[in-house]
């Protein structure tokens, strides 16, 4: 019944499962030439407004992020290493890391997931790794999180009973409605989506994919999504950080 539904969906969308294991390519390879050119041009890419805002926030507050970390230029390469396991064993993505500094070092309540301030700071920090290759640690304490993420990636879910890879591996490069299906990596996030008219987090994007297959969505910032994010980051190892991405 469920299987029939998912096959009907794939057939209806003109998709067919490919037997070949797809190679994983950077999301920018799947963008239209116009969107790709715009992603590469800060004078035309609205996502950089969030970078500007984040850099202003970096210098504000008491103590400011800058007072401990110095100029934000020093954040180069950090986003390429996240998510990462903190000393207390928790898996933190960049948003989670920044929230910790917010509560523990600035003594303030959390900004809140998907808040303007957290998105701006995350985008500003991530933009400093633009072009650098992803390399998250997956050994030691991260290994269990990686497996959790892999399981989530490989499990069929939702009314359509589809696993992530059935779209993002088997059908990468094909069209689904107006989209060209990419390998479903997180390297462009936070990203400005035309559909959102604003910058949003990877977790917001993942919620959209889960909605697409009519699965139960996790909350923004849920540990399940952060584990999935680690798996996606590992899948993208060696590929460049694209944040802030520009997406349809």
């Amino acid at each position: 019944m469920k299987r029939a539904a998912s096959l009907a969906l794939l057939a209806g969308l003109g998709l067919a499962a490919l037997a070949v294991a797809a190679e994983v390519r950077p999301p920018q390879d799947y963008l239209s030439p116009a969107l790709r050119a715009q992603q590469d041009d800060p004078s035309r890419h609205p996502g950089w407004l969030w970078v500007d805002e984040g850099e202003a926030l970096w210098r504000r507050g008491d103590p400011s992020c800058q007072s401990c970390h110095g100029d934000i230029a020093g954040m180069a390469g950090v986003a390429a290493r996240y998510p990462a396991v903190a000393q207390d064993g928790a898996l933190l993505n960049l948003e989670g890391r920044i929230e910790r500094c917010r509560t523990r070092h600035q003594g303030q309540p959390e900004f809140g997931y998907e808040s303007e301030a957290l998105l701006s700071l995350t985008t500003a920090v991530a933009s400093r790794s633009r072009g650098l290759p992803m390399s998250v640690a997956v050994g030691g304490p991260a290994a269990a999180f990686l497996e959790q993420g892999r399981t989530l990636h490989e499990t069929r879910q939702g009314q359509l009973n589809l696993a992530c890879g059935q779209c993002h591996d088997d059908n990468a490069g094909r069209r689904l409605r107006g989209d060209v299906i990419s390998n479903g990596l997180g390297t462009g996030f936070p990203a400005y989506r035309l559909e959102w008219n604003e910058v949003g987090s990877l977790h917001r994007r993942l919620r959209a994919c889960q909605l697409g297959v009519r699965a139960t969505q996790f909350e923004l910032g849920a540990p399940e999504y952060t584990a999935l994010e680690l798996f996606l980051a590992h899948r993208a190892r060696g590929l460049p950080v694209e944040a802030p991405g520009l997406r349809r």
């Binding site: 004078s43 609205p46 407004l49």
Partner: protein, 108 residues
């Protein structure tokens, strides 16, 4: 009385006198369209409706915008480099708020 607004203004740092320079501007604004549909909470329209650019003593560019302009409005136009000085960008929003930003052009 003008307020600050998040904007990215891109223009060459330097230009020769008489040269036509390209100016690009992106500004942060949701360009909120009026919502007036059954079952939805009505939202009044709130957009930036005008962008005026003055430089070297005159208005050199004006754009009037409708809700048909994309969120975070982007515009690109040209102007002749006349003298070194400030290019002043002024946005007017529904409700009367005015936002202002400046960029400098050096002319040799």
């Amino acid at each position: 009385m003008a307020e600050n607004i998040l904007a990215r203004i891109t223009l060459p740092e330097q230009a020769r006198k008489g040269e036509v320079v390209t100016v690009r501007v992106i500004v942060r604004h949701p360009m909120e369209r009026a919502v007036d549909a059954p079952g939805l909470r009505p939202v009044p329209r709130k957009i930036l409706h005008t962008l005026r650019v003055t430089y070297a003593g005159a208005e050199v560019f004006r754009m009037e915008m409708s809700p048909g302009i994309a969120a975070n409005p982007y515009v690109e136009f040209t102007t002749v480099a006349v003298e070194s000085g400030a290019m002043v960008f002024e946005w007017q929003e529904d409700g009367g708020t005015v936002y202002r930003r400046e960029a400098r052009l050096e002319v040799e």
